[in-house]
């Protein structure tokens, strides 16, 4: 497939490399969020300590337990609202349910727990995409979801034209 044929990929199932890159972007972003949260917690701990209140144990417990909640909220919220996480948006991908729309919260939650299952078996569940007939990973099969290409069909430069139209159009 040449790059001129790129547009024919729209709405078709996405492959392993694009999904892997999107996953890496999401992991880096989540790691950054967790690190910032850790730094803020440490600062709060110091501030409370200076005020004579020692809540170190409680804050540590809250911080450690909030990490999986943050990760879950990130994925489930983005999938169910728009079908895209930041990584998927960057790579031009979208998660859809059987009706072609973003998955419901329940389906997104099931998909998130499916992530764990796919990872537990030495990430075989993720790599499954390369041999699956519909390019679905294990978590996609579990939740009946698909990851499809969803490119902006606008060419370079048209993004700016849209921006200019929005900014300069008289109200």
């Amino acid at each position: 497939m040449s790059k001129d044929d790129f547009h024919i990929l729209q709405d078709r199932s996405a492959g392993f490399v694009s999904r892997l890159l999107a996953y890496i972007i999401d992991v880096v972003l989540i790691a950054a969020i967790v690190a910032v949260g850790g730094a803020v917690s440490a600062l709060m701990d110091r501030a409370l300590d200076a005020m004579g209140t020692n809540l170190r144990v409680e804050m540590t417990v809250i911080y450690v337990w909030s990490i999986p909640l943050i990760i879950g909220a990130y994925y489930i919220m983005f999938w169910s609202l728009t079908g895209r996480t930041v990584g998927k948006w960057f790579m031009g991908l979208k998660v859809i349910g059987p009706n072609g729309q973003p998955p419901s919260i329940g389906r997104a939650t099931l998909r998130f727990f499916g992530y764990g299952l796919s990872a537990i078996a030495f990430w075989v569940g993720y790599v499954w995409v390369v041999i699956d007939e519909e390019r679905q990973a294990w978590h996609d099969h579990m939740a009946k979801t698909w990851v499809v290409y969803d490119y902006s069909r606008r060419k370079s430069g048209e993004i700016y034209d849209d921006y200019r139209d929005r900014v300069e159009r008289p109200s």
């Binding site: 497939m1 790059k3 790129f6 024919i8 990929l9 709405d11 078709r12 199932s13 996405a14 492959g15 392993f16 490399v17 694009s18 890159l21 690190a35 850790g38 730094a39 917690s41 440490a42 600062l43 701990d45 110091r46 170190r56 540590t60 911080y63 450690v64 960057f90 790579m91 031009g92 859809i96 349910g97 059987p98 009706n99 072609g100 390369v130 041999i131 007939e133 519909e134 390019r135 009946k144 698909w146 499809v148 290409y149 490119y151 606008r154 370079s156 430069g157 993004i159 700016y160 921006y163």
Partner: protein, 225 residues
């Protein structure tokens, strides 16, 4: 604008007129910033800025980190001369190190590996011996001085660069246009490369499994939910 930046900006023969304008703008803005930085650095060196007089209290005065800073500040002059004013980099580096330090310490406490980490830091600090207190004092002073410099350098440099861009409406417009256009092109390029790699990877695995190569990826079959 510095001479080197001007010469670099003039070498735009392979670019069209709009790109040339952007290259000149970027080179000019950088040159403007560098000029301001050099002038400020000279002025501060001449005045030998006194951190005590600015009433800046170090945000982070961890004795261990300050001792390490003091040790770095007393490195041989040859090393220090690599940076014209070592204090300019002390504060940003120390702030970044402080955030990493705090986060690391927090995770270490949560995971119970603090004694293991102390095995690394304590021998280093112990080796400082009686110098430790003096080096802590030196580090604290350098940290405070670095903060004064960092704030002034940041404010003045940003002012200089923004002032340069703000002088021309047309250049400002070009920056916005080119930034969006270049970003869009880069994203599209990454997506296209990713999609091409998807096809190659799948083709390789299908070949290994003895299946025929697919000309296009499958289309999901919508079902009734």
């Amino acid at each position: 604008m510095s001479t080197a930046a001007t010469e670099k900006a003039s070498d735009t023969s392979r670019l069209d007129a709009r790109h040339q304008a952007v290259v000149r703008l970027i080179a000019g803005a950088i040159g403007e910033g560098i000029d301001r930085l050099m002038a400020l650095s000279s002025a501060l060196d001449d005045a030998d800025a006194d951190p005590e007089s600015t009433q800046v209290v170090p945000l982070r005065a961890d004795p261990t980190l300050m001792a390490v800073l003091g040790w770095v500040s007393e490195l041989p002059e040859q090393v220090r001369s690599a940076s014209r004013s070592a204090s300019q980099v002390v504060y940003p580096v120390a702030r970044a190190a402080g955030v990493v330090w705090d986060t690391g310490a927090y995770v270490a406490r949560a995971t119970g590996v603090t004694p293991f980490l102390q095995g690394f830091t304590e021998p280093f600090l112990t080796a400082m011996g009686e110098e430790r207190e003096r080096l802590t004092s030196v580090g604290t002073a350098e940290y405070a001085r670095g903060r004064v410099l960092a704030v002034q350098v940041f404010e003045q440099s940003v002012d200089g660069i923004m002032g340069y861009i703000g002088e021309s409406d047309e250049l400002g417009e070009l920056v916005r246009e080119q930034t969006l256009g270049i970003t869009g092109s880069a994203v599209r390029e990454i997506r296209e490369t990713g999609a091409a790699a998807d096809g190659l990877t799948e083709g390789l695995f299908r070949k290994l499994l003895g299946k025929e190569k697919r000309p296009v990826p499958p289309m999901p079959v919508p079902q009734t939910e």
